[in-house]
Amino acid sequence: MELTYAPELEAYRAEAAGWLHSQLSGSFAHLRGVSDHVTQIPERRAWEAALGQAGWSCVGWPAAFGGRDASIAEQVIFAEEYARAGGPERIGHIGVELAGPTLLAFGDADQKARLLPDIAAGRSIWCQGYSEPNAGSDLAAVRTRAWREGETYRIEGQKIWTSMGAIADWCFVLCRTEPGSVGPKGLSFLLVRMDQPGVTVRPIRQMTGESEFCEVFFDGAIAQADDRVGAEGDGWRVAMGLLAFERGVSTLGQQMRFRTELDEIIALAKANGAARDALIRQRLVTADTGLKVMRLHALRMLSGEPGALGPEALTYKLFWSNWRRDLGELAMAVGGREAELAVAGGGFSPLTHMFLMSRADTIYAGTNEIQRNLIAERGLGLPREARG
C-alpha cells in the first residue's frame, strides 16, 4: 500500500533527493550508510556543515534560525529521502532534535538568536546531560548541583551515559540549583560549553566495543546565567518538555532505516537458505508487518490533534523498541554462525552491530518498564508507583 502525497510535494521530494544523492555519491560518498556516532568525526562535522549550508539540517525550523519552515509532510519526506539516500547517522541529532526544539519552545529571544543558527549550520554538536550514576529511570533524583556566582553558574557533579559527550561542543545539563531540594523541584536547565577546564569527559566502552557514551565530570565548570533555559528552579518542566520531542517526525526517518535493515535480512535469508525454515519465514513476515504497523502508528500520531497524546503515541516507544530487539534476534537467527564472525579491521557486520545496538533501544529514552508504568498510569489511570 502506498500513501500518496500532494503533487506539489513531489517537487520538494525531488529537490531533497537530488541534493542528497549528489552529495552522497560525490564528496561524502564515504559516509554513506555509516550507522555509528563515533567514527570519522571530522568528516561527519563537515557533513553536518554541508547540510546546514544547503538548508537541509533543520527543515522544520523557522527560516529565521536556519530552517525552511517545512510542513510536517515535508519534514517526513526529507526524513524518508535522507534514509533512502543512505545518509549517515547524524552526530548533530541531539542538537537538531532535542536542544533546538527545546530552545524554540522554552528559550528566550536572545538564546534563540545566539544558539539556533549554530545548530542549524552544523557548527555546534550537542549532548544530553540528564542521567547520573544514581539518577537513571528516577531522573528527578539528579544531584549535580549549580550555584550562582555573579553572571555565571558554577557546576559540580557527574553525568553518565552521555552520548557523544567526547565530541560535543555543548551539553544541556539538568542540575539542582536549590540546595536541599528533592525530586523535580529546585532543578534548573543549564547550557554548558564542553570546552572548558571544569569539564572532564571519560569515554565508556559499550558492549559493541565502541565508546559512544561517556562519563562527564563537572568540577567548578561554568555556565553563563544567560544560558539557563526557563526560570531558575523550573528545569524539570523544560526537561520533560524536551522528552516529548524524542518522538514525532524523526520516527518516520528511523523507520526507513529499519526498512533497510529488514530488507538486508530478507535478502540474506533468501541467499543463505534460512528462508527454507518455516519458522524463519513466519518471523520475517511478522517483522515486515510490524514495520507496516509502525508506519500506520506514526501516521496516526501525525494525523491526531496536535499536542494530544493518544494511546498510539503513548505506546510507540515500547512498540518500536521491542520490534527492533526482535529484529536483532532475527538477524542473528538468519545470519547463523557467520553473523558471529568479526569483520576485517575489527567490529562486526552491520547486522550483528545492529543486533548488539538493539539491546539499548529498550533502555534509553525511558526503559520498557518505565514505558509500561507511563501507559498504565497516564493512559489507563491506574495508581502510581510508590516512591521511596
Binding site: K270, G273, A275, R300, E312, F319, A376
Partner: protein
C-alpha cells in the same frame, strides 16, 4: 497521509456503538448464546432495517451505502466489542459481497436484495475438510448431468449456518472449476446440521449434499467462474475480521481495567501492583498496534492493487494473535471468576480462538505474505548434519 477518521466515519462508529449499548448488552448475549444460534431477532432488525449496516459496502441502487472496507471495519470493531449475537459477518462480509461479485441482475434481485433488506440471513461455505479456506480441496462436488448439474459431498465448518436461511456453497467441478451455488434452506437433498463447537457466539454447522439437483438458476453467475471473486471476497473478509479482532481485544482490556480498579487484595486494588499494571500496559500496546495493523489492511483493500490480499493477510494474522493474547490475559487477571461460565471473559476468549481458524490460521496467512515477499521453501539449503 492523513489517516484520521472523517466526520461521517466517526458517526458510523458512534451510532453503531450507541445502538449496541442498548440492544446487545451482556444479558442479550447470554440469552442468545444459550439458545444455540447466537441470534437475537430484534438486534438483527436493528442492524439491518434501522441502521442499514448489511449493505454498507453494497451499491446504493440496491439500497446499500456504497462505502468501503474502512467504513465497514468501524462496524465490525463495534460488533466485536460486544460479541453482538448476529450472523452479520457471514451475511454482510462473506455472502453478500460474493453474490454481488458474481450474480446476474435477476439473481441480485432474488438473492442479494433480501439480504440488504434484512429479510434473509446468509452464510458462505468455503472450507475444506479441515476447515481451511483451501479452494482447491473442497468436498462439495459438482458434476454435469443431462439437464444441468448435481451436487454431492459436504461442506463442513460453515460459520453462521444455524441462523441462516440461505447458504452459498462453493463447489468444485472436475472440469469447469469453482462455482458458487445459492441454496435457500430447506432444500431437497441438503441436510443442514448445527454442530456444537468451542465458540458459542459464532456457531457453526455442516452441510451434506445427496444428489442435489442444480440448475443454471442456482449457480450464481456463470458456472466455473467463481475463483477470482472468492479470492477477493476472502481477502476483504480477512481485513475485516482483523477489525473485529481489534474490537474483541479492546473489550478484553476494558473489562479487565474495570476489574483491577475495583478488586482488592493485600489491602489495595490489584491494579496498583506493578505486575498487573504492566500486563495491562502490554495489552494497550498490543491493541494499539493491532489497530494500526487493521487500518493497514482495510486501507490496502480500499486502495486495491496486487498487494491488497497480502496486506489483508498480514493484518489479519497480526490482529488474531493480539486478540488471543488479550483474551488470555483477561481471564488471567480476573482470577477464578474469569474461569467461570457466568463471566463473559470466556466468550471473548473463545471468539478470539475461533476467529483464528475462521478464515485460516495466522500461520497460513503469514505463509501467503511470505510467498508474496518472495520467501519460499525452495531456496537452497543443507541438511542439519
Amino acid at each position: 497521509m492523513d489517516v484520521s477518521l472523517s466526520e461521517d466515519q466517526r458517526l458510523i462508529g458512534e451510532s453503531v456503538r450507541g445502538y449496541l449499548a442498548e440492544h446487545a448488552g451482556p444479558e442479550q448475549l447470554r440469552k442468545a448464546v444459550e439458545d444455540g444460534q447466537a441470534f437475537a431477532p430484534s438486534l438483527w432488525r436493528g442492524l439491518t432495517q434501522d441502521l442499514g449496516l448489511v449493505g454498507l459496502m453494497a451499491p446504493e441502487a440496491l439500497g446499500g451505502a456504497g462505502l468501503g472496507a474502512r467504513d465497514m471495519a468501524l462496524v465490525l470493531e463495534a460488533l466485536g466489542e460486544r460479541l453482538a449475537p448476529a450472523p452479520f459477518f457471514e451475511t454482510a462480509v462473506l455472502a453478500l459481497p460474493a453474490l454481488l461479485a458474481l450474480a446476474r441482475p435477476d439473481q441480485v434481485e432474488r438473492w442479494a436484495a433480501p439480504l440488504v433488506a434484512g429479510e434473509r440471513r446468509a452464510c458462505l461455505a468455503f472450507a475444506d475438510a479441515q476447515g481451511r479456506p483451501d479452494l482447491d480441496a473442497l468436498e462439495a462436488q459438482l458434476t454435469t448431468t443431462p439437464t444441468g448439474w448435481r451436487l454431492d459431498g459436504r461442506s463442513r465448518f460453515v460459520s453462521g449456518l444455524p441462523a441462516s436461511d440461505l447458504v452459498l456453497v462453493v463447489a468444485r467441478h472436475p472440469d469447469e472449476g469453482l462455482s458458487l451455488l445459492a441454496l435457500p434452506l430447506p432444500a431437497a437433498g441438503v441436510t443442514a446440521l448445527s454442530v456444537p463447537s468451542l465458540d458459542p457466539t459464532r456457531p457453526m454447522g455442516e452441510l451434506a449434499f445427496d444428489a442435489v439437483e442444480v440448475s443454471a438458476d442456482d449457480i450464481v453467475g456463470a458456472a466455473g467462474q467463481a475463483r477470482k471473486a472468492l479470492h477477493d471476497v476472502l481477502a476483504t473478509a480477512a481485513a475485516l475480521l482483523a477489525a473485529e479482532a481489534v474490537g474483541v481485544a479492546q473489550a478484553c482490556l476494558d473489562m479487565t481495567l474495570a476489574y483491577v480498579q475495583e478488586r482488592k487484595q493485600f489491602g489495595r486494588t490489584i491494579g496498583s501492583f506493578q505486575a498487573v499494571k504492566h500486563a495491562l500496559a502490554d495489552m494497550v500496546a498490543d491493541i494499539e498496534a493491532a489497530r494500526s495493523a487493521a487500518l493497514y489492511g482495510v486501507l490496502a483493500i480500499d486502495q486495491g492493487g496486487p498487494d491488497a490480499s497480502a496486506a489483508a493477510s498480514a493484518s489479519l494474522a497480526w490482529c488474531l494473535d493480539a486478540a488471543k493474547r488479550c483474551a488470555g490475559q483477561a481471564i488471567q487477571l480476573h482470577g477464578g471468576v474469569g474461569f467461570t461460565w457466568e463471566h463473559l471473559a470466556h466468550l471473548y476468549f473463545k471468539r478470539a480462538w475461533s476467529n483464528a481458524t475462521f478464515l485460516g490460521a495466522p500461520e497460513r496467512h503469514r505463509e501467503h505474505v511470505a510467498a508474496r515477499m518472495g520467501l519460499d521453501a525452495t531456496a537452497p539449503s543443507s541438511e542439519p548434519h
